[in-house]
Subunit: 308 residues, 2 copies
Protein backbone atom coordinates (compact mmCIF):
# COMPACT_ATOMS: atom_id res chain seq x y z
CA UNK A 1 0.00 0.00 0.00
CA UNK A 2 1.33 3.43 -0.97
CA UNK A 3 2.41 5.83 1.77
CA UNK A 4 1.43 9.50 1.80
CA UNK A 5 3.20 11.96 4.08
CA UNK A 6 1.19 15.11 4.77
CA UNK A 7 2.86 18.19 6.21
CA UNK A 8 0.58 21.07 7.09
CA UNK A 9 -1.09 23.13 9.76
CA UNK A 10 -3.53 21.65 12.25
CA UNK A 11 -5.57 24.48 13.66
CA UNK A 12 -8.66 25.97 15.14
CA UNK A 13 -10.78 27.80 12.58
CA UNK A 14 -13.62 30.21 13.34
CA UNK A 15 -15.65 30.91 10.24
CA UNK A 16 -18.35 33.39 9.35
CA UNK A 17 -20.30 33.17 6.09
CA UNK A 18 -23.58 34.76 4.96
CA UNK A 19 -25.22 31.56 6.21
CA UNK A 20 -23.93 31.51 9.77
CA UNK A 21 -20.88 31.38 11.98
CA UNK A 22 -18.95 28.81 13.98
CA UNK A 23 -16.97 28.80 17.17
CA UNK A 24 -13.49 27.25 17.18
CA UNK A 25 -13.69 24.14 15.04
CA UNK A 26 -11.21 21.67 13.56
CA UNK A 27 -9.27 23.38 10.78
CA UNK A 28 -5.88 23.84 9.16
CA UNK A 29 -4.60 22.39 5.92
CA UNK A 30 -3.54 18.96 7.16
CA UNK A 31 -6.92 17.69 8.43
CA UNK A 32 -8.61 18.64 5.15
CA UNK A 33 -5.81 16.99 3.16
CA UNK A 34 -5.88 13.92 5.38
CA UNK A 35 -9.65 13.47 5.34
CA UNK A 36 -9.79 13.71 1.55
CA UNK A 37 -6.79 11.41 1.08
CA UNK A 38 -8.37 8.84 3.40
CA UNK A 39 -10.93 8.13 0.67
CA UNK A 40 -8.21 6.08 -1.05
CA UNK A 41 -6.57 2.83 -0.02
CA UNK A 42 -3.31 4.24 1.28
CA UNK A 43 -1.31 4.69 4.46
CA UNK A 44 -1.00 8.29 5.53
CA UNK A 45 0.60 10.34 8.25
CA UNK A 46 0.37 13.98 9.29
CA UNK A 47 3.35 15.98 10.50
CA UNK A 48 2.24 19.07 12.37
CA UNK A 49 2.12 20.80 15.74
CA UNK A 50 -0.69 21.78 18.13
CA UNK A 51 -0.97 23.17 21.64
CA UNK A 52 -2.15 21.52 24.80
CA UNK A 53 -5.54 23.14 24.21
CA UNK A 54 -6.20 20.94 21.18
CA UNK A 55 -8.99 18.44 21.91
CA UNK A 56 -8.11 14.77 21.90
CA UNK A 57 -11.43 14.25 20.10
CA UNK A 58 -10.10 16.10 17.05
CA UNK A 59 -6.98 13.94 17.01
CA UNK A 60 -9.17 10.86 17.35
CA UNK A 61 -11.16 11.94 14.25
CA UNK A 62 -7.96 11.69 12.24
CA UNK A 63 -6.69 8.52 13.90
CA UNK A 64 -10.08 6.85 13.33
CA UNK A 65 -9.47 7.23 9.61
CA UNK A 66 -6.16 5.39 9.95
CA UNK A 67 -4.15 8.56 9.64
CA UNK A 68 -0.90 8.19 11.59
CA UNK A 69 -0.85 11.13 14.01
CA UNK A 70 2.40 10.28 15.77
CA UNK A 71 4.02 13.16 13.87
CA UNK A 72 1.64 15.73 15.35
CA UNK A 73 3.62 17.25 18.19
CA UNK A 74 1.55 18.42 21.17
CA UNK A 75 3.39 21.29 22.85
CA UNK A 76 2.93 21.32 26.64
CA UNK A 77 1.45 24.63 27.73
CA UNK A 78 1.28 25.75 24.12
CA UNK A 79 -1.71 27.11 22.23
CA UNK A 80 -2.91 25.84 18.86
CA UNK A 81 -2.71 27.93 15.69
CA UNK A 82 -5.97 29.89 15.37
CA UNK A 83 -7.49 31.49 12.27
CA UNK A 84 -10.71 33.48 12.13
CA UNK A 85 -12.19 34.70 8.89
CA UNK A 86 -15.32 36.21 7.44
CA UNK A 87 -16.49 35.59 3.88
CA UNK A 88 -18.11 38.25 1.73
CA UNK A 89 -21.56 37.74 0.26
CA UNK A 90 -20.35 36.12 -2.98
CA UNK A 91 -18.09 33.73 -0.97
CA UNK A 92 -15.28 34.43 -3.43
CA UNK A 93 -13.35 36.66 -1.06
CA UNK A 94 -12.84 36.88 2.66
CA UNK A 95 -11.30 38.98 5.38
CA UNK A 96 -8.95 37.42 7.88
CA UNK A 97 -10.01 38.68 11.29
CA UNK A 98 -7.52 36.84 13.49
CA UNK A 99 -4.31 34.91 12.86
CA UNK A 100 -2.59 33.59 15.98
CA UNK A 101 0.35 31.41 14.96
CA UNK A 102 1.00 30.21 18.54
CA UNK A 103 2.86 26.88 18.46
CA UNK A 104 3.01 27.03 14.65
CA UNK A 105 5.51 29.90 14.96
CA UNK A 106 8.25 27.48 16.09
CA UNK A 107 7.11 24.40 14.19
CA UNK A 108 10.02 22.02 13.69
CA UNK A 109 8.65 19.10 11.65
CA UNK A 110 9.88 15.60 12.52
CA UNK A 111 8.92 12.91 10.00
CA UNK A 112 8.02 9.63 11.75
CA UNK A 113 10.54 6.85 10.99
CA UNK A 114 8.03 4.71 9.13
CA UNK A 115 7.23 7.54 6.73
CA UNK A 116 10.81 8.47 5.84
CA UNK A 117 10.28 6.30 2.76
CA UNK A 118 6.86 7.74 1.83
CA UNK A 119 5.92 7.37 -1.83
CA UNK A 120 4.25 10.75 -2.02
CA UNK A 121 4.92 13.86 0.06
CA UNK A 122 2.22 16.52 0.20
CA UNK A 123 3.73 19.76 1.47
CA UNK A 124 0.87 21.96 2.64
CA UNK A 125 1.11 25.74 2.60
CA UNK A 126 3.79 26.60 5.21
CA UNK A 127 7.06 28.54 5.45
CA UNK A 128 9.41 27.18 2.75
CA UNK A 129 12.06 26.45 5.40
CA UNK A 130 9.66 23.99 7.05
CA UNK A 131 8.91 22.40 3.69
CA UNK A 132 12.64 22.12 2.93
CA UNK A 133 13.31 20.50 6.29
CA UNK A 134 10.86 17.73 5.44
CA UNK A 135 12.35 17.25 1.95
CA UNK A 136 15.80 16.89 3.54
CA UNK A 137 14.63 14.31 6.07
CA UNK A 138 13.38 11.86 3.43
CA UNK A 139 15.61 8.78 3.04
CA UNK A 140 15.40 8.94 -0.74
CA UNK A 141 13.62 11.12 -3.23
CA UNK A 142 9.89 10.21 -3.08
CA UNK A 143 8.08 9.11 -6.24
CA UNK A 144 6.29 12.44 -6.07
CA UNK A 145 6.64 15.60 -4.02
CA UNK A 146 3.73 18.04 -4.23
CA UNK A 147 3.97 21.62 -3.02
CA UNK A 148 1.21 23.98 -2.03
CA UNK A 149 2.17 27.57 -1.35
CA UNK A 150 0.73 31.08 -1.48
CA UNK A 151 1.51 34.70 -2.31
CA UNK A 152 2.57 35.41 1.29
CA UNK A 153 5.72 33.31 0.86
CA UNK A 154 6.44 34.88 -2.52
CA UNK A 155 6.41 38.26 -0.80
CA UNK A 156 8.30 37.23 2.32
CA UNK A 157 10.50 34.20 1.60
CA UNK A 158 11.09 34.23 -2.17
CA UNK A 159 14.67 32.87 -2.08
CA UNK A 160 13.80 29.98 0.22
CA UNK A 161 10.64 29.25 -1.79
CA UNK A 162 12.66 29.03 -5.01
CA UNK A 163 15.01 26.51 -3.36
CA UNK A 164 12.03 24.33 -2.44
CA UNK A 165 10.44 24.74 -5.88
CA UNK A 166 13.61 23.28 -7.46
CA UNK A 167 13.17 20.06 -5.52
CA UNK A 168 9.52 19.23 -6.10
CA UNK A 169 7.55 17.52 -8.87
CA UNK A 170 4.16 19.21 -8.68
CA UNK A 171 3.17 22.70 -7.55
CA UNK A 172 -0.41 23.71 -6.81
CA UNK A 173 -1.14 27.44 -6.71
CA UNK A 174 -3.98 29.70 -7.69
CA UNK A 175 -4.14 31.80 -10.85
CA UNK A 176 -3.21 35.08 -9.18
CA UNK A 177 -0.22 33.43 -7.53
CA UNK A 178 0.94 31.86 -10.80
CA UNK A 179 0.84 35.32 -12.36
CA UNK A 180 2.68 36.89 -9.42
CA UNK A 181 5.34 34.17 -9.47
CA UNK A 182 6.13 34.65 -13.17
CA UNK A 183 4.92 38.15 -14.06
CA UNK A 184 3.04 36.52 -16.94
CA UNK A 185 -0.68 37.18 -17.33
CA UNK A 186 -1.25 34.24 -19.66
CA UNK A 187 -1.58 31.10 -17.56
CA UNK A 188 -0.10 29.06 -20.42
CA UNK A 189 3.06 31.16 -20.32
CA UNK A 190 3.07 31.28 -16.52
CA UNK A 191 2.90 27.48 -16.34
CA UNK A 192 5.76 27.16 -18.83
CA UNK A 193 7.94 29.50 -16.75
CA UNK A 194 7.12 27.65 -13.53
CA UNK A 195 8.13 24.36 -15.15
CA UNK A 196 11.51 25.95 -15.85
CA UNK A 197 11.83 26.68 -12.12
CA UNK A 198 11.62 22.99 -11.23
CA UNK A 199 8.26 21.20 -11.08
CA UNK A 200 7.39 19.04 -14.09
CA UNK A 201 3.68 19.43 -13.33
CA UNK A 202 1.90 22.69 -12.59
CA UNK A 203 -1.64 22.73 -11.19
CA UNK A 204 -3.32 26.13 -11.32
CA UNK A 205 -6.44 26.38 -9.15
CA UNK A 206 -9.12 28.83 -10.27
CA UNK A 207 -11.63 28.23 -7.45
CA UNK A 208 -15.17 28.11 -8.81
CA UNK A 209 -13.67 28.22 -12.32
CA UNK A 210 -11.91 24.87 -11.97
CA UNK A 211 -8.28 23.78 -12.21
CA UNK A 212 -5.69 23.46 -14.96
CA UNK A 213 -2.90 20.89 -15.18
CA UNK A 214 0.16 21.71 -17.27
CA UNK A 215 2.96 19.31 -18.23
CA UNK A 216 5.29 19.99 -21.19
CA UNK A 217 2.94 20.73 -24.08
CA UNK A 218 -0.03 19.05 -22.45
CA UNK A 219 -2.92 20.83 -20.76
CA UNK A 220 -5.86 19.33 -18.91
CA UNK A 221 -8.77 21.19 -17.42
CA UNK A 222 -11.21 20.13 -14.73
CA UNK A 223 -14.18 22.36 -13.97
CA UNK A 224 -15.54 22.86 -10.50
CA UNK A 225 -18.91 21.15 -10.25
CA UNK A 226 -21.61 23.84 -10.55
CA UNK A 227 -23.38 23.82 -7.20
CA UNK A 228 -26.70 25.24 -6.16
CA UNK A 229 -25.05 26.67 -3.13
CA UNK A 230 -21.58 27.06 -1.71
CA UNK A 231 -21.95 27.13 2.06
CA UNK A 232 -18.34 27.53 3.24
CA UNK A 233 -15.30 27.48 0.92
CA UNK A 234 -12.84 26.93 3.80
CA UNK A 235 -10.61 23.94 3.11
CA UNK A 236 -11.67 23.45 -0.51
CA UNK A 237 -8.12 23.94 -1.81
CA UNK A 238 -6.67 21.58 0.79
CA UNK A 239 -9.39 19.00 0.12
CA UNK A 240 -8.48 19.24 -3.56
CA UNK A 241 -4.82 18.66 -2.64
CA UNK A 242 -5.82 15.72 -0.45
CA UNK A 243 -7.85 14.04 -3.18
CA UNK A 244 -5.11 14.73 -5.69
CA UNK A 245 -2.26 13.38 -3.57
CA UNK A 246 -4.31 10.53 -2.13
CA UNK A 247 -5.32 9.28 -5.56
CA UNK A 248 -1.73 9.43 -6.84
CA UNK A 249 -0.46 7.58 -3.77
CA UNK A 250 -2.87 4.76 -4.57
CA UNK A 251 -2.18 4.89 -8.34
CA UNK A 252 0.10 2.30 -9.90
CA UNK A 253 2.13 4.87 -11.75
CA UNK A 254 2.61 8.58 -12.17
CA UNK A 255 1.76 9.81 -15.66
CA UNK A 256 -0.17 12.62 -17.29
CA UNK A 257 -3.15 10.26 -17.46
CA UNK A 258 -3.09 9.47 -13.74
CA UNK A 259 -2.56 13.19 -12.98
CA UNK A 260 -5.74 13.96 -14.95
CA UNK A 261 -7.70 11.51 -12.85
CA UNK A 262 -6.12 12.93 -9.71
CA UNK A 263 -7.31 16.42 -10.66
CA UNK A 264 -10.84 15.12 -11.16
CA UNK A 265 -10.77 13.24 -7.85
CA UNK A 266 -9.53 16.35 -6.08
CA UNK A 267 -12.19 18.55 -7.67
CA UNK A 268 -14.84 16.00 -6.85
CA UNK A 269 -13.97 15.84 -3.16
CA UNK A 270 -13.65 19.63 -2.94
CA UNK A 271 -17.21 19.92 -4.24
CA UNK A 272 -18.41 18.16 -1.07
CA UNK A 273 -16.18 20.10 1.28
CA UNK A 274 -17.89 23.43 0.53
CA UNK A 275 -21.36 22.12 1.35
CA UNK A 276 -21.01 22.52 5.12
CA UNK A 277 -18.85 24.31 7.69
CA UNK A 278 -15.23 23.23 7.96
CA UNK A 279 -14.70 19.47 7.89
CA UNK A 280 -18.35 18.60 8.70
CA UNK A 281 -19.29 17.34 5.25
CA UNK A 282 -16.07 15.39 4.75
CA UNK A 283 -16.61 13.56 8.03
CA UNK A 284 -19.96 12.19 6.84
CA UNK A 285 -18.97 11.51 3.26
CA UNK A 286 -19.97 8.08 1.91
CA UNK A 287 -18.27 6.16 -0.87
CA UNK A 288 -21.45 5.93 -2.94
CA UNK A 289 -21.82 9.71 -2.81
CA UNK A 290 -18.29 10.16 -4.08
CA UNK A 291 -18.89 7.75 -6.94
CA UNK A 292 -22.23 9.26 -7.91
CA UNK A 293 -20.66 12.69 -8.13
CA UNK A 294 -17.75 11.37 -10.19
CA UNK A 295 -20.41 10.30 -12.68
CA UNK A 296 -21.73 13.87 -12.63
CA UNK A 297 -18.23 15.09 -13.47
CA UNK A 298 -18.20 12.76 -16.44
CA UNK A 299 -21.57 13.99 -17.63
CA UNK A 300 -20.46 17.56 -17.11
CA UNK A 301 -17.40 17.34 -19.33
CA UNK A 302 -17.51 14.37 -21.68
CA UNK A 303 -18.61 14.73 -25.27
CA UNK A 304 -18.20 12.84 -28.48
CA UNK A 305 -17.62 14.90 -31.58
CA UNK A 306 -16.95 13.05 -34.77
CA UNK A 307 -14.92 14.80 -37.43
CA UNK A 308 -15.87 14.33 -41.03
CA UNK B 1 -29.41 21.53 -46.29
CA UNK B 2 -30.44 23.32 -43.08
CA UNK B 3 -31.18 27.03 -43.17
CA UNK B 4 -29.88 29.47 -40.58
CA UNK B 5 -31.32 32.97 -40.28
CA UNK B 6 -28.99 35.44 -38.55
CA UNK B 7 -30.32 38.74 -37.24
CA UNK B 8 -27.75 41.14 -35.85
CA UNK B 9 -25.77 44.32 -36.24
CA UNK B 10 -23.40 44.89 -39.14
CA UNK B 11 -21.05 47.65 -38.14
CA UNK B 12 -17.76 49.44 -38.20
CA UNK B 13 -15.59 48.65 -35.20
CA UNK B 14 -12.51 50.57 -34.11
CA UNK B 15 -10.56 48.61 -31.54
CA UNK B 16 -7.66 49.41 -29.24
CA UNK B 17 -5.89 46.71 -27.24
CA UNK B 18 -2.52 46.68 -25.44
CA UNK B 19 -1.13 45.24 -28.69
CA UNK B 20 -2.29 47.90 -31.13
CA UNK B 21 -5.24 49.70 -32.61
CA UNK B 22 -7.33 49.59 -35.77
CA UNK B 23 -9.16 52.10 -37.91
CA UNK B 24 -12.77 51.37 -38.87
CA UNK B 25 -12.94 47.65 -39.66
CA UNK B 26 -15.69 45.14 -40.35
CA UNK B 27 -17.59 44.48 -37.13
CA UNK B 28 -20.98 43.93 -35.56
CA UNK B 29 -22.52 40.69 -34.31
CA UNK B 30 -23.84 39.34 -37.60
CA UNK B 31 -20.54 39.10 -39.53
CA UNK B 32 -18.90 37.21 -36.66
CA UNK B 33 -21.91 34.90 -36.37
CA UNK B 34 -22.05 34.41 -40.14
CA UNK B 35 -18.35 33.71 -40.59
CA UNK B 36 -18.34 31.13 -37.80
CA UNK B 37 -21.55 29.49 -39.03
CA UNK B 38 -20.13 29.28 -42.56
CA UNK B 39 -17.76 26.58 -41.28
CA UNK B 40 -20.72 24.20 -41.49
CA UNK B 41 -22.63 22.84 -44.50
CA UNK B 42 -25.67 25.07 -44.23
CA UNK B 43 -27.50 27.86 -46.01
CA UNK B 44 -27.42 31.13 -44.12
CA UNK B 45 -28.72 34.66 -44.44
CA UNK B 46 -28.11 37.87 -42.52
CA UNK B 47 -30.85 40.38 -41.77
CA UNK B 48 -29.40 43.75 -40.86
CA UNK B 49 -28.98 47.36 -41.94
CA UNK B 50 -25.99 49.50 -42.97
CA UNK B 51 -25.44 52.97 -44.41
CA UNK B 52 -24.30 54.02 -47.83
CA UNK B 53 -20.78 54.37 -46.37
CA UNK B 54 -20.48 50.63 -45.90
CA UNK B 55 -17.89 49.20 -48.34
CA UNK B 56 -19.11 46.75 -50.96
CA UNK B 57 -15.92 44.80 -50.25
CA UNK B 58 -17.21 43.97 -46.75
CA UNK B 59 -20.52 42.74 -48.15
CA UNK B 60 -18.58 40.70 -50.70
CA UNK B 61 -16.64 39.02 -47.89
CA UNK B 62 -19.92 37.67 -46.55
CA UNK B 63 -21.42 36.84 -49.95
CA UNK B 64 -18.22 34.98 -50.92
CA UNK B 65 -18.94 32.59 -48.04
CA UNK B 66 -22.39 31.86 -49.45
CA UNK B 67 -24.11 34.00 -46.86
CA UNK B 68 -27.31 35.46 -48.34
CA UNK B 69 -26.99 39.24 -47.88
CA UNK B 70 -30.24 40.23 -49.57
CA UNK B 71 -31.65 40.96 -46.11
CA UNK B 72 -28.98 43.56 -45.36
CA UNK B 73 -30.69 46.86 -46.13
CA UNK B 74 -28.41 49.62 -47.42
CA UNK B 75 -29.90 52.97 -46.42
CA UNK B 76 -29.30 55.69 -49.01
CA UNK B 77 -27.48 58.61 -47.44
CA UNK B 78 -27.34 56.75 -44.14
CA UNK B 79 -24.31 56.02 -41.98
CA UNK B 80 -23.37 52.60 -40.64
CA UNK B 81 -23.50 51.73 -36.93
CA UNK B 82 -20.08 52.53 -35.40
CA UNK B 83 -18.53 51.25 -32.19
CA UNK B 84 -15.15 52.19 -30.79
CA UNK B 85 -13.68 50.55 -27.72
CA UNK B 86 -10.49 50.23 -25.76
CA UNK B 87 -9.53 47.11 -23.82
CA UNK B 88 -7.74 47.23 -20.48
CA UNK B 89 -4.43 45.50 -19.97
CA UNK B 90 -5.89 42.18 -18.88
CA UNK B 91 -8.30 42.18 -21.89
CA UNK B 92 -11.13 41.14 -19.58
CA UNK B 93 -12.76 44.54 -19.51
CA UNK B 94 -13.08 47.44 -21.89
CA UNK B 95 -14.30 51.00 -22.16
CA UNK B 96 -16.70 51.96 -24.93
CA UNK B 97 -15.39 55.21 -26.38
CA UNK B 98 -17.95 55.77 -29.15
CA UNK B 99 -21.37 54.28 -29.97
CA UNK B 100 -23.07 55.82 -33.01
CA UNK B 101 -26.23 53.85 -33.78
CA UNK B 102 -26.85 55.71 -37.06
CA UNK B 103 -29.03 53.54 -39.37
CA UNK B 104 -29.32 50.91 -36.62
CA UNK B 105 -31.52 53.32 -34.65
CA UNK B 106 -34.42 52.74 -37.09
CA UNK B 107 -33.68 49.16 -38.04
CA UNK B 108 -36.80 47.44 -39.31
CA UNK B 109 -35.82 43.85 -40.08
CA UNK B 110 -37.30 42.20 -43.17
CA UNK B 111 -36.71 38.45 -43.42
CA UNK B 112 -36.04 37.39 -47.04
CA UNK B 113 -38.82 35.19 -48.44
CA UNK B 114 -36.63 32.13 -48.84
CA UNK B 115 -35.65 32.26 -45.15
CA UNK B 116 -39.17 32.57 -43.72
CA UNK B 117 -38.94 28.80 -43.21
CA UNK B 118 -35.44 28.79 -41.66
CA UNK B 119 -34.68 25.81 -39.44
CA UNK B 120 -32.72 27.82 -36.93
CA UNK B 121 -33.02 31.51 -36.09
CA UNK B 122 -30.08 33.17 -34.36
CA UNK B 123 -31.22 36.45 -32.82
CA UNK B 124 -28.11 38.53 -32.15
CA UNK B 125 -28.01 41.10 -29.36
CA UNK B 126 -30.50 43.82 -30.43
CA UNK B 127 -33.55 45.63 -29.03
CA UNK B 128 -36.12 42.96 -28.07
CA UNK B 129 -38.72 44.64 -30.33
CA UNK B 130 -36.52 43.93 -33.35
CA UNK B 131 -36.03 40.34 -32.22
CA UNK B 132 -39.80 39.95 -31.74
CA UNK B 133 -40.50 41.35 -35.20
CA UNK B 134 -38.35 38.59 -36.72
CA UNK B 135 -40.01 35.89 -34.63
CA UNK B 136 -43.41 37.12 -35.81
CA UNK B 137 -42.41 37.07 -39.48
CA UNK B 138 -41.48 33.39 -39.51
CA UNK B 139 -44.02 31.19 -41.36
CA UNK B 140 -43.92 28.55 -38.68
CA UNK B 141 -42.05 28.06 -35.45
CA UNK B 142 -38.42 27.19 -36.36
CA UNK B 143 -36.85 23.99 -35.06
CA UNK B 144 -34.75 26.22 -32.85
CA UNK B 145 -34.72 29.90 -31.94
CA UNK B 146 -31.60 31.14 -30.15
CA UNK B 147 -31.46 34.48 -28.38
CA UNK B 148 -28.46 36.55 -27.46
CA UNK B 149 -29.06 39.58 -25.27
CA UNK B 150 -27.31 41.75 -22.70
CA UNK B 151 -27.76 43.69 -19.48
CA UNK B 152 -28.61 46.89 -21.39
CA UNK B 153 -31.97 45.43 -22.49
CA UNK B 154 -32.65 44.11 -18.99
CA UNK B 155 -32.24 47.67 -17.73
CA UNK B 156 -34.10 49.41 -20.55
CA UNK B 157 -36.61 47.01 -22.15
CA UNK B 158 -37.34 44.38 -19.52
CA UNK B 159 -41.00 43.83 -20.42
CA UNK B 160 -40.33 43.43 -24.14
CA UNK B 161 -37.33 41.20 -23.41
CA UNK B 162 -39.50 38.91 -21.27
CA UNK B 163 -42.00 38.60 -24.14
CA UNK B 164 -39.20 37.49 -26.46
CA UNK B 165 -37.73 35.15 -23.87
CA UNK B 166 -41.07 33.31 -23.73
CA UNK B 167 -40.84 32.45 -27.41
CA UNK B 168 -37.31 31.12 -27.76
CA UNK B 169 -35.63 27.76 -27.17
CA UNK B 170 -32.10 28.75 -26.22
CA UNK B 171 -30.74 31.85 -24.51
CA UNK B 172 -27.05 32.74 -24.43
CA UNK B 173 -25.96 35.29 -21.84
CA UNK B 174 -22.97 35.87 -19.63
CA UNK B 175 -22.74 35.00 -15.95
CA UNK B 176 -23.29 38.54 -14.67
CA UNK B 177 -26.37 38.89 -16.88
CA UNK B 178 -27.79 35.55 -15.73
CA UNK B 179 -27.43 36.78 -12.15
CA UNK B 180 -29.00 40.14 -12.95
CA UNK B 181 -31.88 38.49 -14.78
CA UNK B 182 -32.78 36.22 -11.86
CA UNK B 183 -31.28 37.84 -8.76
CA UNK B 184 -29.69 34.49 -8.03
CA UNK B 185 -25.94 34.32 -7.44
CA UNK B 186 -25.74 30.56 -7.98
CA UNK B 187 -25.62 29.90 -11.73
CA UNK B 188 -27.39 26.58 -11.16
CA UNK B 189 -30.34 28.39 -9.60
CA UNK B 190 -30.19 31.22 -12.13
CA UNK B 191 -30.37 28.74 -15.00
CA UNK B 192 -33.34 26.98 -13.40
CA UNK B 193 -35.21 30.29 -13.07
CA UNK B 194 -34.43 31.29 -16.65
CA UNK B 195 -35.81 27.95 -17.87
CA UNK B 196 -39.05 28.84 -16.10
CA UNK B 197 -39.16 32.07 -18.12
CA UNK B 198 -39.25 30.18 -21.41
CA UNK B 199 -36.09 28.75 -22.96
CA UNK B 200 -35.52 25.01 -22.51
CA UNK B 201 -31.78 25.47 -22.89
CA UNK B 202 -29.68 28.08 -21.10
CA UNK B 203 -26.10 28.79 -22.18
CA UNK B 204 -24.11 30.87 -19.70
CA UNK B 205 -20.90 32.31 -21.12
CA UNK B 206 -18.05 32.93 -18.69
CA UNK B 207 -15.49 34.33 -21.16
CA UNK B 208 -12.02 32.94 -20.46
CA UNK B 209 -13.66 30.61 -17.91
CA UNK B 210 -15.71 28.74 -20.52
CA UNK B 211 -19.43 28.17 -20.99
CA UNK B 212 -22.14 26.18 -19.22
CA UNK B 213 -25.17 24.53 -20.82
CA UNK B 214 -28.23 23.85 -18.67
CA UNK B 215 -31.27 21.78 -19.64
CA UNK B 216 -33.62 20.31 -17.02
CA UNK B 217 -31.34 18.51 -14.58
CA UNK B 218 -28.47 18.27 -17.04
CA UNK B 219 -25.38 20.44 -17.01
CA UNK B 220 -22.52 20.48 -19.50
CA UNK B 221 -19.41 22.58 -19.30
CA UNK B 222 -16.96 23.57 -22.03
CA UNK B 223 -13.77 25.37 -21.04
CA UNK B 224 -12.23 28.10 -23.13
CA UNK B 225 -9.03 26.79 -24.66
CA UNK B 226 -6.11 28.18 -22.60
CA UNK B 227 -4.21 30.42 -25.01
CA UNK B 228 -0.71 31.85 -24.82
CA UNK B 229 -2.11 35.17 -25.80
CA UNK B 230 -5.49 36.77 -26.36
CA UNK B 231 -4.97 39.53 -28.92
CA UNK B 232 -8.48 40.97 -29.30
CA UNK B 233 -11.60 39.55 -27.62
CA UNK B 234 -13.98 41.49 -29.88
CA UNK B 235 -16.48 39.16 -31.49
CA UNK B 236 -15.61 36.11 -29.41
CA UNK B 237 -19.15 35.81 -28.02
CA UNK B 238 -20.72 36.22 -31.47
CA UNK B 239 -18.29 33.73 -32.98
CA UNK B 240 -19.32 31.31 -30.24
CA UNK B 241 -22.98 31.92 -31.14
CA UNK B 242 -22.17 31.41 -34.83
CA UNK B 243 -20.42 28.10 -34.26
CA UNK B 244 -23.18 27.01 -31.89
CA UNK B 245 -26.07 27.88 -34.21
CA UNK B 246 -24.23 26.78 -37.37
CA UNK B 247 -23.48 23.37 -35.95
CA UNK B 248 -27.07 22.86 -34.83
CA UNK B 249 -28.41 23.94 -38.23
CA UNK B 250 -26.29 21.22 -39.82
CA UNK B 251 -27.12 18.65 -37.12
CA UNK B 252 -29.68 15.94 -37.81
CA UNK B 253 -31.53 16.56 -34.61
CA UNK B 254 -31.69 18.81 -31.59
CA UNK B 255 -30.85 17.06 -28.35
CA UNK B 256 -28.75 17.61 -25.27
CA UNK B 257 -26.00 15.60 -26.98
CA UNK B 258 -25.99 17.76 -30.09
CA UNK B 259 -26.14 20.90 -27.92
CA UNK B 260 -22.98 19.71 -26.13
CA UNK B 261 -21.18 19.38 -29.43
CA UNK B 262 -22.50 22.76 -30.49
CA UNK B 263 -21.02 24.35 -27.36
CA UNK B 264 -17.65 22.78 -28.09
CA UNK B 265 -17.75 23.89 -31.73
CA UNK B 266 -18.63 27.42 -30.65
CA UNK B 267 -15.86 27.52 -28.06
CA UNK B 268 -13.41 26.12 -30.57
CA UNK B 269 -14.15 28.78 -33.20
CA UNK B 270 -14.10 31.55 -30.58
CA UNK B 271 -10.58 30.48 -29.62
CA UNK B 272 -9.43 31.45 -33.13
CA UNK B 273 -11.39 34.69 -33.25
CA UNK B 274 -9.41 36.26 -30.39
CA UNK B 275 -6.04 35.65 -32.03
CA UNK B 276 -6.19 38.70 -34.32
CA UNK B 277 -8.10 41.96 -34.70
CA UNK B 278 -11.78 41.78 -35.56
CA UNK B 279 -12.66 39.19 -38.20
CA UNK B 280 -9.07 38.84 -39.53
CA UNK B 281 -8.39 35.41 -38.11
CA UNK B 282 -11.80 34.02 -39.06
CA UNK B 283 -11.30 35.08 -42.66
CA UNK B 284 -8.14 32.99 -42.97
CA UNK B 285 -9.33 30.02 -40.96
CA UNK B 286 -8.70 26.60 -42.56
CA UNK B 287 -10.69 23.44 -41.96
CA UNK B 288 -7.63 21.49 -40.84
CA UNK B 289 -6.90 24.12 -38.21
CA UNK B 290 -10.42 23.83 -36.86
CA UNK B 291 -10.17 20.06 -36.66
CA UNK B 292 -6.74 20.08 -35.03
CA UNK B 293 -7.98 22.39 -32.33
CA UNK B 294 -11.08 20.27 -31.75
CA UNK B 295 -8.64 17.50 -30.93
CA UNK B 296 -6.98 19.84 -28.43
CA UNK B 297 -10.38 20.39 -26.83
CA UNK B 298 -10.75 16.65 -26.45
CA UNK B 299 -7.32 16.32 -24.88
CA UNK B 300 -8.07 19.24 -22.61
CA UNK B 301 -11.22 17.76 -21.13
CA UNK B 302 -11.50 14.03 -21.67
CA UNK B 303 -10.50 11.57 -18.97
CA UNK B 304 -11.22 8.01 -18.11
CA UNK B 305 -11.76 7.22 -14.46
CA UNK B 306 -12.73 3.71 -13.58
CA UNK B 307 -14.68 3.18 -10.41
CA UNK B 308 -13.94 0.15 -8.31
Amino acid sequence: MGKLLIVGSVAFDAIETPFGKTGKILGGAAPFIGLAASQFKIESAIVSVVGEDFPQAYLDILADRDIDISGIEVVKGGKTFFWKGKYHNDLNSRDTLVTELNTMADFNPIVPDNFLDADVVMLGNLHPDIQMSVINQMKERPKLTILDTMNYWMDNAWTQLMEVVKKIDVITINDAEARQMTREYSLVRAAAKIQEMGPKYVVIKKGEHGALLFHDEHIFFAPALPLEEVFDPTGAGDTFAGGFSGYLTAAENISFESMKNAIIQGSNLASFCVEQFGTERMLKLQKHEVEARLMQFKELTQFNIELD
